[in-house]
Assembly symmetry: C2
Homo-oligomer: 243 residues x 2
DNA sequence: ATTCCTTATTGAGCTTGACTCGAAAATGCC
DNA sequence: GGCATTTTCGAGTCAAGCTCAATAAGGAAT
């Protein structure tokens, strides 16, 4: 009876452990060799199971890759949320900078997975990372942006999805350019300037930015950033005061 | 002797015609089925040649795809240059809008090829679209931007590659979002607004305008709200100070 | 403990598709 | 026409994803 009560647990645990072993092996092999370069036999060998066993857990190589990708995006989301949670400062632009920094380095680091996420659906139209996983990831930005709007740090009439496109689009393209070192001019491209210009662009356009007629106002931007800094100083000061 | 003089011509022409037939067939099959889904046998059938013959023109399936991709990017470049040449107006922002419009619709139309361009290098590390082809394409933007700077239509201190990243990055990301219709909110996303906001963003951030005199109300409202918040912070702080 | 049933695992083989290669056809040259 | 070179071909090879019949393991009932 004791075994009867315990076994279902251990049995499930055993299956889960095996599934984790497969996923871990798959992740490694996919990272090392890419999708096409990855051999199911090697994944099986690393997971220390028979090759056929994989197919009782996953329909196909593509579905296995899909699961790895979804796990990957979920991990990214958690990390991004952690970055937001652990952010020392509270200002919108400082947090945005932290997010941009994290996203850019992540995208550069994991360019394979990023590309595969969008390339897979071409190869296998049935298999693609669910919209929900991607949406969950960009929700980190969305929440930050909405909060900035609520606090009046950015324009009320700013359109969320437009800002999102600029943010993630620019960072991804920059990442690709950096990784390609594709610049014709000799300009060295590092992560720092990319993030800096992203923030400055957001300050200009969504913060104390332009009017609807497209008149840029560096003067006002300067004023705005000075105010931001002042505000941070106040925050810092108030934290040091005794209750 | 007449044949001797003519044959080299017709012979080369014959080979070139065959090569074009292969490429045309390949393009069609790749577009219809993607890279992995494409069958060399079908390409051979459509080009009306033996399957082995393809391999006397191209090393491998990947190299064939690569050639198709390079042809594709060259075509894009020519079309983009044509759009610039035929543009009725001469202003920087009008031309930029035309380019953005063209690029966005092209990217949406040919999302497969765009993705494959960057996905291929993962699968086959030796084969990737040469940087030159991509650089040649983005040069259309680069030239436009530099010309705008020369004419004083945009800021002199604007950094070209930053602007390029924002332009192409945002448009590509928007294209993907549009094609995914991934927006959580019900917002319909069409091409028009995307291009419009792109232009407005460029006007604001890169436009060389008489900013000091064009104080827009949103800008002032934003500054005002920041001051309000600062004032609130000050009040809160002063209440906590020892009497 | 034995038996029986259900479920999990396995790897030899099937299938598919990219690619090779020896032969044959076409072309070039005299 | 006859020889040399080039081009074309498709049957055969090979590699890799996937299947499936056989086997093992796990658990319940007698």
């Amino acid at each position: 009876m004791a075994t009867k009560a315990v076994n279902p647990e251990t049995q499930r645990a055993k299956l889960e452990r095996k599934e984790r072993a497969i996923l871990e092996a798959a992740r490694g092999v996919f990272v090392e060799h890419g999708f096409d370069g990855a051999r199911m036999s090697e994944i099986a060998r690393r997971a220390q199971i028979g090759e056929g066993t994989i197919y009782s857990y996953y329909e196909s190589k593509a579905e296995l890759m899909l699961t790895v990708l979804q796990q990957f995006w979920d991990g990214l989301t958690l990390e991004a949320e952690a970055v937001m949670a652990s952010s020392q400062v509270d200002g919108f632009f400082e947090r945005l900078q932290a997010l941009a920094q994290y996203h850019l380095s992540t995208v550069i680091e994991n360019a394979d997975f990023i590309n595969l996420t969008f390339a897979l659906r071409r190869n296998n139209s049935e298999v693609s990372v669910s919209r929900d996983h991607l949406r969950h990831y960009v929700a980190v930005f969305d929440n930050l942006f909405r909060r900035g709007q609520d606090r009046g740090e950015i324009r009320q009439d700013a359109v969320l999805w437009q800002a999102r496109d600029v943010f993630y689009g620019t960072l991804e393209y920059s990442a690709r350019s950096i990784e390609m070192t594709m610049d014709a001019d000799r300009t060295e491209r590092h992560q720092g300037p990319v993030v800096d210009q992203m923030i400055s662009l957001f300050r200009a356009h969504y913060g104390a930015g332009p009017d609807e007629y497209g008149l840029a106002s560096p003067t006002l931007n300067n004023l705005s950033s000075k105010l931001d800094r002042l505000s941070e100083q106040f925050d810092a000061l108030s934290k040091r005061l005794p209750q």
